[in-house]
Structure formats: structure tokens, C-alpha cells
């Protein structure tokens, strides 16, 4: 069983569209995250979320919004996609000091 799974693996879409990326973890972790990895491979935290608190990186445009229907899911919704949104998006989860478990990534290409 995949610990952190995200779908789709690849997403190609046109500018201006709205899209969602789904993430599910079966580890029972309390906290989930979304990261963006750009073409230079730099990891940028976008959101972290647990049962109590959503922490938003203030540099993230408000076109990006996390949605968590329950503790095991943290989906990423993106409105009005722009060319600069093209990147690989990683979901991750963690529990205390155990470190993070990452999904395999979603490669988003905006054309």
C-alpha cells in the first residue's frame, strides 16, 4: 500500500483553467503538506495543515487553496492557472519528529 498517494501523476492544462490535485495518506499522520518544486529543484512549502491549524506560506497566490475533507486527505485546488504554475507538486505527511513521507509528485504543465 502506498503511504502517501497523489493523483494525477501528470496534468497538462491550458492557462485560465481550474484544476485539483488529490492527496491521501494512510499513515495516520496528523499533519499534511503541499510543496512546489520548481525547475531548479528548489522545494517551497505552500501549505501545512493539521486538525487544528492551516498555515499558509504568504508568498503563495490566493489562486491556490488547500481543501481537507478529513485527516487523511489534503487536496490542492488551483484557480485560473498561469504558465508560471508549471512545476512538480508534492504532497507529504508527518507525525511529530518522525520526518516527512512524500508522495511521488504531480507534474503540472500549463500551456
Amino acid at each position: 500500500d502506498t503511504a502517501v498517494s497523489q493523483t494525477p501523476k501528470y496534468l497538462v492544462t491550458q492557462m485560465g483553467n481550474d484544476k485539483s490535485i488529490k492527496c491521501e495518506q494512510n499513515l495516520g499522520h496528523d499533519t499534511m503538506y503541499w510543496y512546489k518544486q520548481d525547475s531548479k529543484k528548489f522545494l517551497k512549502i505552500m501549505f501545512s495543515y493539521n486538525n487544528k491549524e492551516l498555515i499558509i506560506n504568504e508568498t503563495v497566490p490566493n489562486r491556490f487553496s488547500p481543501k481537507s475533507p478529513d485527516k487523511a486527505h489534503l487536496n490542492l485546488h488551483i484557480n485560473s492557472l498561469e504558465l508560471g504554475d508549471s512545476a512538480v507538486y508534492f504532497c507529504a505527511s508527518s507525525q511529530g519528529e518522525s520526518g516527512y513521507t512524500f508522495g511521488s509528485g504531480t507534474r503540472l504543465t500549463v500551456v
Binding site: 502517501v4 499533519t31 503538506y33 529543484k41 528548489f42 522545494l43 512549502i45 501545512s48 498555515i55 508534492f90 507529504a92 508527518s94 511529530g96 519528529e97 520526518g99 516527512y100 513521507t101 512524500f102 508522495g103 511521488s104 509528485g105
Partner: protein, 112 residues
């Protein structure tokens, strides 16, 4: 301010030679330190962590890291490199509520 630095964008090592990927950190209090590896077109995988205890931490795939408090470093090492070790390596440090600050990554290339 809490920070992590990986001073080398790329490290080249011949297969069979020892390898070192450098990481330095700046945190208040006792650091929790991690190394992750990212293979091409894959997610990040946990390699090892230092929370407390022995300064030499052993991890996956034969890797180890040495915590040096006086030098604020946590360098990743392996005695004998394999071509399959070629990947992108990230160092990270916990800063609050177990959230991580990430280094910029170091590309490790092992040449046969």
C-alpha cells in the same frame, strides 16, 4: 533565523570512492536534522535523521551522517559510492511544530 545551507550545487565522485555531501545549519536550541534523497522523476525518500544521541547516524542504502555541534554541520557520507547513488540530496532542519526548513539540494553524480 533558522536556516540550512548546502554549499555545493553538485558533487562529482568516482564509483568506489568515498563521498561527502555537505550541510550546515543555523537553529536556536537543539537541532533535529534530516537527509532526504530524490531520484529522477520520483518523490523524496527519507535517508536518516539526527534527533539526539550518537553524533554518527546510520541510514538507508549505506549512508551515514555526522552531527558536529561546534561546526553546526551535518554532512552526509558513504564509504564507497555506487553509480545508483546518483540523485538529488536534500538536508533539512526542524524549526517549529516539526516543520522543516530545506536546503537547496545537492546533485550527486557518481561516475563509473
Amino acid at each position: 533565523a533558522q536556516s540550512v545551507a548546502q554549499p555545493e550545487d553538485q558533487v562529482n565522485v568516482a564509483e568506489g570512492n568515498p563521498l561527502t555531501v555537505k550541510c550546515t545549519y543555523s537553529v536556536s536550541g537543539n537541532p533535529y536534522l534530516f537527509w532526504y534523497v530524490q531520484y529522477p522523476n520520483r518523490g523524496l525518500q527519507f535517508l536518516l535523521k539526527y534527533i539526539t544521541g550518537d553524533n554518527l547516524v546510520k541510514g538507508s542504502y549505506g549512508f551515514e551522517a555526522e552531527f558536529n555541534k561546534s561546526q553546526t554541520s551535518f554532512h552526509l557520507k558513504k564509504p564507497s559510492a555506487l553509480v545508483s547513488d546518483s540523485a538529488l540530496y536534500f538536508c533539512a532542519v526542524v524549526y517549529s511544530n516539526y516543520q522543516l526548513i530545506w536546503g537547496a539540494g545537492t546533485k550527486l553524480i557518481i561516475k563509473p
